[in-house]
Symmetry: C2
Subunit: 339 residues, 2 copies
């Protein structure tokens, strides 16, 4: 089975893709949300207040959805996938809380970050709390293999973040080095989320490997599209939530490509704005112009499409099912989304 991903943007279809997955796991997701509400509780009021600010801020619950769908596709019978999905969402939330502190971000999904409302200190500590609660949930499933996969992911994610910190200001970062960063900081949780779906269903062989591969490649594609969207996506048009990476001086693939394809003068520009942090009026617009000239954004999405194709091929060993269809369509959604 080859990868069939539309070359053209196809918003309607992509929207249907994620809706399709959402409705397949809707009932399970209600249970996940119940666990999330219950397990983020504490006698210290600041903890559920801060945690729910982020958890209820309209995220798509993509990662727990992946765990639920993967388990269902493997015909899992039981309830432990619910706990695992909630644990995955807690791990993700903990990462976001710490990321916002590390990146000194003021806004996330258009609203003030927790650190702006409750302070950096509380964000670090509530992140730690959620990580602890995530591990408690996993332990309750008594699946040592799932615990192994998720605890490994926790270390790898942090490793990826440190890698990015170390590489943050180097415009001559190679594409390979950048891929190592996003494999660790983003794709590791995607692949853990999908692999544990197979593991909890006791499909430890080919199916676990296939879902691990699907999750990893989907995660890479997802992050690459995210990086392109931060510069307005293919169209290079800026909305209210774009330009954050530029302002934070982050080196992402669009920058890596534009830098490598640029002339000396252009490279000096990238070094000034991202390496030296000397940003002036009009710099973002100039950056977008260079990205457009060198096709850095369309090629970032082309790279994403490559990983998306691998993800779809990974699913081919599973018999046709609404879950396989929805997971396949999800790849398209991730690549064609505009937010």
């Amino acid at each position: 089975m080859g990868a069939v991903i539309p070359l053209e943007d196809d918003r309607g279809r992509s929207k249907n893709a994620v809706t399709q997955l959402q409705s397949l796991v809707a009932k399970d997701m209600e249970s996940v949300n119940e666990f999330i509400r219950e397990r983020m509780g504490s006698e210290v009021p600041m903890i559920p207040e801060l945690a729910s600010h982020l958890i209820n801020s309209g995220g798509k619950r993509l990662r727990p959805m992946l765990t639920l769908a993967s388990a269902q596709m493997c015909n899992y019978v039981g309830h432990d996938h619910i706990k695992l999905a909630a644990a995955v969402e807690f791990m993700h939330t903990a990462t976001l809380l710490h990321d916002d502190v590390v990146d000194e971000s003021d806004l996330r999904r258009g609203t003030k970050t927790a650190r702006m409302l409750w302070g950096n200190q509380a964000s670090v500590l509530v992140g730690d709390f959620l990580l602890g609660r995530a591990f408690k949930l996993m332990v309750e499933t008594r699946s040592l293999r799932c615990l192994e996969i998720l605890s490994n992911a926790a270390a790898v994610i942090a490793e990826g973040e440190v890698m990015q910190l170390a590489a943050a200001k180097d415009t001559s970062t190679t594409e390979d080095a950048y891929l190592r960063v996003i494999q660790a900081k983003t794709a590791a949780l995607f692949s853990a989320a999908t692999e544990i779906g197979a593991v909890i269903a006791e499909r430890n062989g080919n199916e676990a490997a296939a879902l691990e591969s699907y999750g990893r490649n989907l995660g890479i594609a997802f992050q690459l599209v995210d990086d392109a969207l931060d510069y307005g996506g293919r169209a290079a048009t800026l909305g209210k939530n774009t330009g954050d990476d530029f302002r934070e001086g982050k080196i992402t693939l669009p920058v890596v490509l534009a830098f490598r394809r640029g002339n000396d003068e252009e490279r000096a520009f990238w070094q000034r704005v991202l390496q030296d942090g000397d940003r002036r009026e009009g710099d973002l617009e100039h950056a977008l112009g260079l990205m457009t000239r060198h096709e850095a954004l369309t090629d970032t999405i082309a790279r994403a499409r490559h990983y998306g194709a691998i993800a779809i091929d990974a699913l081919a060993i599973f018999p046709a099912s609404p879950y396989r269809d929805a997971l396949t369509a999800l790849v398209e959604f991730c690549i064609n989304r505009n937010h």
Copy 2:
């Protein structure tokens, strides 16, 4: 068996107490140190650099020592206590890294904190990395009960830190509220460290409960003495590492006692310096004078002695052994130490 703790400071004896424990677990501790070196490794050089700065900074390895001694006292035969002890030290290190960020501390044990050398961001992320690695180590032991105890401790520790953050500036905090904070932020890891020693030796009943109680009460005593030492201890004399809590505006038991026992003028002083953060030349000396007048430091240590006595009684169900003697003597060491 009653608690026999000398009322007088007895440095020589206390020093022997910790040396006694150290030599009993010396061989195991070498293996723990090997695991620590190995498992803090990463292809990202900043991670082992930052982690080893703190891990090799001359800490006493008290918590892993507790796990080793507890397991040995329960006649454990095997090697998993080594991994658990290393995991406990990683959890402790992660907590310290995050604490220094939260408290904006410049110095720890007389040397610059990791956050001063590598930045807040790296300290948060390397803390996360070590927490992930700690869980990996635990999972390798395949003991679900140990995983349960330690993952619960991880959430409780963070909960305690948030509690402290919320209560941080309130000079009218009650002693009970303060005890709840230190039970969570300090004693939870001590009790987990000792309880898992019994659990890994499959002594899940009275012995696990006794060691849990020993660890918890030792942890409370340890933290109370720490709080007194921050004001120079019983003698109220300041060295180079004292006065940190005062400068950070932390409300600890010496302050709680001095505030409650003080008159209106004195309470206004505590509110100005700790609640409003308006500290002037000579304030620390004045604070020490008030603590001496109200016996706040000697009584903080008297409170510690109370919990120490409970810890010692908890051990009474174990037959006499060098381990029991050393763990008993350790309580004295923790109470009589001067650093």
